[in-house]
Amino acid sequence: MAALLRVDGVSKSFRGLLALNNVSFEVSEREIAALIGPNGAGKTTLFNVIAGVFRPDSGSVHLGGADITGRRPDEICHAGIGRTFQIVKPFAQMTVLENVTVAALHTAASVAAAREAARGFLELLELDAKAAQHAANLTLPDRKRLEVARALATGPRLLLLDEVMAGLRPSETDRMVATLRRLRDDTGLTILLIEHVMRAVMALSEHITVLHHGEKISEGTPDRIVRDPAVLECYLGDQDL
């Protein structure tokens, strides 16, 4: 399988603090991959480097063979990466439908078409009943869903999901897992997710990369990862695994 996303030797430091140290990994086309690691491992920083929020100090990011290193977030969105934010960022004064419409606009021909497309994504994420509500009034699980709906509405080839299951009940997590898998199967979407909810990671991902202190310490299939002593060591005492 061809690699859709290739991260090559990426390093990033903040005020002398090394957040990412020479991280390389690939995500194949149509794959659901996960990025895990203890708090402060550099997962979100890596997301932000891929999504163009931070420019890496060294290293490169390629999407489908094209170099997207250091491009602006909106350019990277146009290149085909949709992302969610760990700390959700709804457009609070707009309705739920309008939130998703904003995302759908840059592939849609008209506002009306974008609204139609947005309704579809709301249905997919079970938000259609709340379309006319202001985003400020949503519960946290609904805001997480809204994040996913918006990211999907940009029509990405690669979806970056930053802890979208956190705060969901187990049954809701299962539904989200099912939704994401169906999306991949139906549309050929590639998904890279950061997740703490191991139930979701194990159920969804085909490939896992483990970060610790800004370095990649392991990668492979879920079966392999749970048996890797290096991974067990960094998670020692962590009840999740």
Binding site: A51, V53, R72, P73, D74, C77, H78, G82, R83, F85, K89, P90, F91, A92, Q93, M94, E98, N99, T101, V102, A103, L105, H106, V111, A114, A132, Q133, R150, A151, A153, T154
Partner: protein, 348 residues
């Protein structure tokens, strides 16, 4: 839905009737109002136009301008100068006037938005540029400097209708500024429902999220500044040919810029009808205060010698403080809810 209903979306039946009646009353104003009332009404629409322009920046796109007098002033001076110097009629002169105002807006926008330092920067820049231009014009003799720039008006100009040269009876000015203000309202309505409107509101609510969804923040902020400053430039052209005299101290005074914000704040920042609603409350209120003071002086309650220059602004300032503290969303949404002028949570 009738086209009108569709256009105004969430307005209820009562809202449409009330709005329609009010509009009719205003259209017929020259038949029932005195010339004084007409002057006040012209001021109201003029400020509503500027307010709409200011609200587009802050209410739609989240950009705070405290130098809106700059764009108005540039429009005014450009059109007036071209008319006086080469006889260019304002109907054409409005183009370079708006062009210059837009250029100025883009320059400020470019300087302010290049850096992710925060909205305060842009606000400060707008004031700084307004002051800068005021001082420069203070020293430009061919623009009249501090002595002022005057347009010739003859007694004959006070009659009839000459829209191309903006010369005519007060009624002409009244209908013109009314059309411009309502035109601005319609334009804003249209923009808000367009791609631009969606992107602006997204940037206003969360710029980082908007960018992640593919919105080129710099570009769309620049669009907002350009359209807003252009609208203010149009207002400036009207001002020049209505007043026929331009003084840097008056045109570019920071009070003008603050005046531009007041209607929208009182009416409701980010609402479509807020700016016009707010000016309809504030301007007559200011007139009533002035009249009341004159009356009190006339009756001898207040010593006629006492100068009460600051009183009107003192009251205005107080109103804004009250609104920010107690009704930060403005009066329009509140009035709407009270009088059921809008349908609740309606889909547009």
């Amino acid at each position: 839905m009738t086209p009108v209903r569709r256009f105004f979306g969430p307005l209820s039946r009562a809202g449409l009737w009330l709005g329609g009646a009010f509009l009719l009353l205003l259209l017929l104003l020259p038949w029932w109002g005195s010339s004084y009332i007409m002057t006040v009404a012209i001021t109201v629409f003029y400020l509503a136009l500027i307010g709409q322009s200011w609200n587009l920046m802050l209410g739609f796109a989240g950009l705070l301008s405290i130098g809106h007098a700059l764009f108005v002033g540039i429009g005014a001076y450009t059109a007036a100068y071209l008319f006086a110097a080469i006889g260019l009629p304002p109907v054409i002169g409005v183009l370079p006037a708006v062009g210059l105002a837009v250029l100025m807006g883009l320059l400020i926008g470019y300087l302010g938005f290049r850096f992710a330092i925060g909205g305060v920067y842009f606000a400060l820049l707008t004031i700084a540029f307004a002051e800068f231009v005021r001082i420069v014009i203070d020293h430009v003799s061919w623009l009249g400097a501090t002595e002022g720039f005057f347009l010739k008006v003859s007694a004959a100009d006070r009659h009839g209708i000459d829209l191309a040269n903006l010369r005519g009876a007060p009624e002409m000015y009244y209908y013109l500024i009314m059309a411009l203000a309502l035109g601005a309202l319609v334009l804003c309505r249209f923009l808000l429902r367009s791609r631009l409107g969606y992107y602006w509101q997204a940037i206003r609510d969360d710029a980082e999220a908007a960018q992640a969804l593919g919105v080129n923040i710099l570009r769309y902020k620049m669009y907002a500044v350009a359209i807003s400053s252009g609208m203010a430039g149009v207002a400036g052209v009207f001002y020049a040919f209505y007043q026929n005299s331009l003084f840097p101290e008056i045109v570019f005074n920071i009070e003008r810029s603050i005046e531009a914000t007041l209607g929208s704040i009182v009416g409701g920042v980010g609402t479509l009808f807020g700016p016009i609603f707010g000016t309809f409350i504030l301007t007559p209120l200011g007139e009533i205060v002035t009249e009341a003071i004159d009356l009190l002086k006339h009756w001898g309650v207040i010593d006629p010698q006492i100068k009460l220059d600051g009183l009107k602004l003192l009251i205005w300032g107080f109103i804004v403080v009250l609104i920010v503290l107690f009704k930060p969303k403005g009066l329009w949404p509140w009035v709407c809810a009270r009088l059921r002028l809008t349908r609740p949570e309606a889909e547009g």
